[in-house]
């Protein structure tokens, strides 16, 4: 089993950050961004309750389906698109190797 995979995060200025992501730490994409000090707030701590980790999924990788909580939160978020997800609900797994995401704009 691969211990680390590659996840590329495009920040709000359009810069790509290829990040080494551990698969054995039960980490989410939100936590990964914070660990690399990318501008992701993760205000609610990962409960799908604030949408401050809103990202767009840019390529096709097997991701878990969004829960009702995540969909409900996305209903209250802005700049939502068909490929919107909450980073805190994307738990890093080996199959996600090569995933590319973009940080959504932050609201007012």
């Amino acid at each position: 089993m691969k211990q680390t995979i590659l996840i590329t995060v495009v920040d709000r200025e359009g810069e790509s950050h290829p990040l080494e992501a551990p698969t054995d730490m039960n980490m989410s994409v939100m936590e990964l961004c914070k660990a690399y000090e990318l501008p992701v707030e993760g205000t609610c701590g990962g409960m799908a309750l604030c949408a401050s980790c809103h990202v767009y999924v840019l390529n096709d990788r097997p991701l878990s389906d969004p829960s009702d909580d995540e969909l409900a939160m996305l209903d209250s978020a802005f700049f939502v698109a068909a490929n919107s997800r909450l980073g805190c609900q994307l738990h890093i797994r080996e199959e996600m190797d090569g995933l590319e995401i973009k940080l959504a704009p932050v609201g007012q």
């Binding site: 205000t43 309750l49 209903d75 209250s76 802005f78 700049f79 609201g107």
Partner: protein
Amino acid sequence: MTQQVTETDILIIGAGPVGLFAVFEAGLLKLRCHLLDVLPQPGGQLTEIYPKKPIYDIPGYPSVLAGDLVQNLLEQIAPFHPGFTLGERAETLERTDDGRWRVQTQRGLEFLAPVIFVAGGLGSFEPRKPPIDNIAQFEDHGVDYFVRNPELYRGKRVVIAGGGDSALDWTIFLADVADELTLIHRRTEFRGALDSVEKVHALAEHGKIKLVTNSQVTGLQGNGQLTGVQIEHDTEGKFLVAADNFVPLFGLTPKLGPLADWGLQLDKSAIEVNTTDYATNQPGIFAIGDINTYPGKLKLILCGFHEATLACQSAFKIVHPDQKLSFKYTTVTGIEGLASTPAL
């Protein structure tokens, strides 16, 4: 002009779990507390964001619902009769000539205390504002982020946006009040309470409201006062709805707010404190709970409880500089005012 001034020993800004528990620890030292919070009810995030979620790391509770923990804390501090000012945001802070601190709220309420505990968590909860370019210029001129007084919408043309419970509930309530009511939602389905969703669909079928789904508000029109709301449908393009009021209801989000300008040493959005007593760089001002930072900081309620406890020890010395403090166990001394506690 006469102003209401509240004087207390410790003004606690933020009535979340840590602010509430600070009242208990202060109460043991006979320090009076007053709590100030922008939210209309105590409990902070626990009440506002996740009242029905379990917390597993409160010592002595294998599991406790966030809302229940707040109720228990309120019960625990009741013997000390804390004051509460809710629904008010602390705006300004200044030192008085006698060395106390004066805090004013946005509506001009004034508080005087020698000690301030900033227990503001993530900051003050503010409505989430939709990203519409000119929305700020219509705030209080047709755009409201809360329904404060439903009567203000009587006979008006009102557009509500949002898909959650509060958008649904206010749509149902204002359907009979407003002259015309339009509900805009980004998707087809609503995730609010099933009963409310059914009511909204029924109102739309009977022509009492206009329901516009798969759409977002993208622009506002008016000259000083709102006159119209521009709506963009996912596939059918843009159209304009004449409106006197636009009420976007997208929940609340925390912002550090005015605290950022209080001369407190900040690291990102957190207040730097020492770990002896969680004092800030300003004398008499302590920061406890999620809002503070120090080497090794963990944003946990249980850590906030500890921080509040130690801060109270130093608060006592500021409030009563001429008195000595002797450490007591509650098991030995009981809680004054608590019926089940044996009298001393």
